[in-house]
């Protein structure tokens, strides 16, 4: 069964000239117990989609079921089954970490005692036990983010929505959070996760949905997406640019294809179908021809390559992307 299923979701902000179609007909399904990564450049509509699925925004069109409940007609039922951690940490600065968790626990309708117990457990789990009795004014950005995530896990929700959960976390905290997410999945939770970090989607998501300009532009497992843009390739960095010509000849010969050459970085790239065998052959040939190399590797496409290919942009090129998105939708 699908924990989350959406059909033709549409949301437009503003009217007339200033209208921005943030989400323009998105279909999305997340089978129970799986993790789906929602990927897309800034302004793609990820947050807007999440807000509709979590009952915060009314879709202009389309339909979405979360845990079998319609987000528009049965919002209260949906809310009691989900956990949401929004893109920006939403916690009360004037309360302590413990008080925040207690507050949200109470609003999830736990008893005061249950809420207290959960607060203690979560502070421990998110390495905030020492800071638990300080007001959030004294927390760093990453600590707030962790508290925000802890708040979304109070009732062990079966369905979790995490909007860029690891943005602003240090590498150790990020890995910790990955573990928390995996733990929740092992317990049977379903997770919809948006992220700017492709390796995060690669590491956590069973399925990836790439959206841009409010449209789904690709969908599949990380491997399927990578396969879409081609297979393995051999990359060689020659030590001396004088050797680039002979290296190119050898590479073309071995792959029977066309070599890509970047004069500036002295890097040659060629697609290959023969895997490590081909690599060994190339190394032998280069050695025989007396070409000195700095680096040689067999590379598989990364999700980054997929992202650039699909959207024409790097995941991290921030404002620029958002600006074009807004501009294009407006024009």
């Amino acid at each position: 069964m699908n924990a989350i299923s959406a059909e033709g979701l549409v949301k437009t902000f503003g009217t007339g000239d200033k209208a921005v179609k943030a989400v323009g007909g998105v279909d999305l399904t997340v089978p129970e117990g799986t993790v789906v990564g929602l990927l897309g450049p800034n302004g793609a509509g990820k947050t807007t989609a999440v807000r509709m699925l979590t009952t915060l925004l009314q879709p202009d069109a389309g339909r979405a079921l979360v845990a079998g409940h319609d987000v528009v007609r049965e919002p209260q039922a949906v809310r009691s089954l989900i956990g949401l951690s929004g893109q920006y940490a939403a916690v009360d600065e004037t309360l302590t970490g413990r008080e925040n968790l207690w507050l949200f626990g109470r609003l999830y309708q736990l008893s005061s005692k249950q809420a207290k117990k959960r607060a203690d457990e979560l502070l421990e789990q998110f390495s905030l036990a020492d800071a638990g009795d300080r007001t959030l004014k004294t927390y760093s950005g990453g600590m707030r983010r962790r508290l925000d995530l802890a708040s979304s896990l109070i009732v062990h929700p079966e369905i979790l929505f995490l909007d860029e959960p690891t943005t602003g976390l240090d590498p150790a905290s990020r890995l910790d959070l990955w573990d928390v997410i995996r733990e929740r999945v092992a317990e049977g939770a379903t997770i919809l996760l948006t992220t700017q970090y492709l390796e995060e989607a690669d590491a956590l998501a069973d399925n990836i949905v790439v959206i841009d300009h409010g449209q789904v532009i690709a969908e599949g497992t990380a491997d399927q997406l990578k396969a879409q843009i081609g297979g393995e390739r051999i990359e060689v960095v020659v030590h001396d640019s004088e050797h680039a010509d002979s290296a190119e000849q050898i590479l073309n010969l071995s792959s029977g294809g066309q070599c890509d050459r970047d004069t500036h970085t002295r890097k040659l790239t060629v697609p290959t179908h023969t895997g490590s065998k081909g690599l060994i052959q190339v190394i032998r040939d280069l050695d025989e021809a007396g070409v000195t190399i700095d680096d040689i590797a067999l590379r598989r496409p990364t999700l980054d390559d997929v992202f650039v290919k699909l959207t024409g942009r790097h995941a991290e090129s921030e404002t620029e992307a958002a600006d074009t998105a807004a501009g294009r939708a407006a024009s």
Binding site: S80, A90, D92, T94, L103, F104, T135, V155, H156
Partner: protein, 282 residues
């Protein structure tokens, strides 16, 4: 580990007892957190004392009360109800700033994603700010008594007046809630909450006897809702009160105030709840 997990199909409606519980939880949070904010401490403890002293001593002798020109205590006895009412009206500010702040910080979004009553956040705000207004009013009453104001109508009248002032604050808190949720930015809310209130309060009988106003202003001032609350408070405290014209407003200030409470809450509570439902961060 999963002891807290929900299994039964959750209800789509929220019952009354849950609504009350959620409101109290939010009220707890507002009071608990609010007291840690220096701005609120100034608002609650310094501002009321300052107002009483300023008006009693600076304007004290300058404004004569018609018919009581020879009585040096007349203006203080006349004035204090006006300051009380003004301060109750200013409850608009903490409510609008508080909710706008919650909205800007994304907390409203989080609350809206929780299985809590839709009314909880606003009701919790109103309850917390009303509790704060009780303290503010108590401080002002003590200060007033210290500078020479008098309760001239016995215990029953006193509690009637206090109750009416708090009802006024209650009504204005809903106005504040609506403003705060409409603007969604605490800085804007701070001025949007109060800017219109100054002319409304000053164009009333709060600080000046309306018979001393120019003739064309008199009916405006006397029918001003603020004047109803001030006149009713004066009547219940037994303080001097006067009107230029003989109207329903001058004859039934207490009844008129109660009507205003119903009207203001009846308009602004649904508007505020509607804003809350549609609220979106940024």
């Amino acid at each position: 580990m999963n002891s807290i997990q929900r299994t039964a199909t959750p209800p789509n409606r929220v019952g009354l007892s849950q609504a009350v519980g959620d409101a109290m939880t939010i009220a707890w949070r507002n009071i608990r957190g609010g007291w840690r904010v220096p701005d609120n401490q100034i608002y609650m403890f310094i501002q009321p004392i300052m107002f009483v002293l300023l008006f009693a001593y600076v304007f004290g002798g300058a404004i004569p009360i018609p018919g009581m020109e020879d009585d040096p205590t007349a203006y203080k006895r006349y004035l204090m109800a006006g300051i009380f009412a003004q301060t109750m009206a200013f409850a608009v500010a903490p409510a609008s700033v508080g909710l706008a702040d919650d909205m800007q910080k994304g907390l409203i979004d989080r609350f809206r994603s929780l299985p809590m009553a839709r009314s909880g956040v606003i009701a919790g705000r109103v309850i917390a700010d009303l509790a704060n207004q009780v303290i503010v009013l108590a401080i002002m009453i003590v200060c007033g008594l210290l500078v020479g104001w008098e309760i001239e109508n016995g215990v029953l009248g006193f509690f009637g007046a206090v109750g009416l002032l708090l009802l006024f604050a209650f009504a204005m808190l809903w106005v504040g809630a609506f403003i705060g949720l409409s603007v969604g930015n605490p800085q804007v809310a701070a001025s949007a909450g109060l800017i219109w209130l100054f002319p409304v309060v000053f164009l009333s009988n709060a600080f000046i006897p309306t018979p001393t106003l120019p003739g064309w202003l008199q009916p405006i001032a006397e029918w001003n809702p603020v004047s109803a609350f001030v006149a009713a408070t004066r009547e219940l405290f037994g303080n001097p009160s006067m009107f230029a014209a003989d109207t329903f407003a001058s004859n039934h200030p207490v009844l008129l105030s109660l009507i205003w409470v119903v009207v203001i809450v009846g308009i602004f509570a649904p508007l505020a709840v509607r804003k809350y439902k549609a609220a979106a961060t940024k």
